[in-house]
Symmetry: C2
Subunit: 153 residues, 2 copies
């Protein structure tokens, strides 16, 4: 455990700002960090590992309140391991559902994009009568998919 990363170095490495790092410490997400002589923070490797874990929780949209709960459990020692595991399992379930929801929405975005693309094709070949179109490959393609833009979930 080396304790020699300054707050700016940690900020650079994690992508968080120094502001946010202090904020996280203030609200108990990060335990009080070791200090150098002048009161400046010096982050240890274990702090870094914890911060990276927090970032994974954040990436998966765990709200700060739950992270605080988790951090509190962690600081309470080994006897909370089971609680922590259960929290993570519940969270993981949410995350997987979330990923699936995003995947599905992404898919329908793809469909919509494809629809737009074919629409643009038909505009390119048909609207030449209105005004002189400057470019676009004038491939005639009047394929309109029968569904407009509706989907369901």
């Amino acid at each position: 455990m080396e304790s020699h990363l300054s707050i700016d170095e940690v900020a650079k490495r994690t992508g968080l700002t120094a502001h946010t790092l202090r904020y996280y410490e203030r609200i108990g997400l990060i335990a009080p960090v070791a200090r150098a002589a002048g009161g400046q923070r010096r982050y240890a490797a274990s702090d870094m590992a914890w911060i990276e874990f927090l970032l994974r929780l954040r990436t998966t949209h765990m709200p700060i309140g739950k992270m605080q709960t988790f951090a509190k459990l962690r600081s309470a020692g080994d006897r909370t391991v089971s609680d922590r595991r259960q929290m993570l399992e519940a969270h993981l379930t949410d995350v997987l559902a979330n990923i699936e929801a995003m995947r599905q929405s992404a898919e329908s975005l793809r469909v919509k994009i494809a629809y737009y693309r074919s629409f643009e094709q038909s505009l390119a070949s048909n609207s030449n009568t209105d005004e002189g179109d400057v470019n676009e490959t004038p491939k005639s393609l009047r394929a309109r998919t029968r569904k407009t833009a509706r989907n369901r979930r």
Copy 2:
């Protein structure tokens, strides 16, 4: 196009609240909805389709500002189709990156859960180790001394 869904019916179907539906209309996310005699909103099928599309954008974390931009383009007619497609393509790229980030984080959560689980096993059979949170390698399951674990599932 039937125009006979009340705001509460739409709320029920979309999962949004009536408040939020009015809010979306106010900020231009939803075009002014048809009204019944007394001024009450009556949503058409096309409104529903659009709202469902908005929900897919929301599911994929598009900020409201961008949705407003998109809605504005849409209301400007066919000549904005290309812009809209480009917006969606850019968004889709973000979304896919996001999904991948979540997938990876979910994976490391799974690893951590597995670690906790093996840790609990060793607690159950032995006594207790130390703090141990610094994830990774489920080291040799040794223990030192202390109490027994509580709940399991």
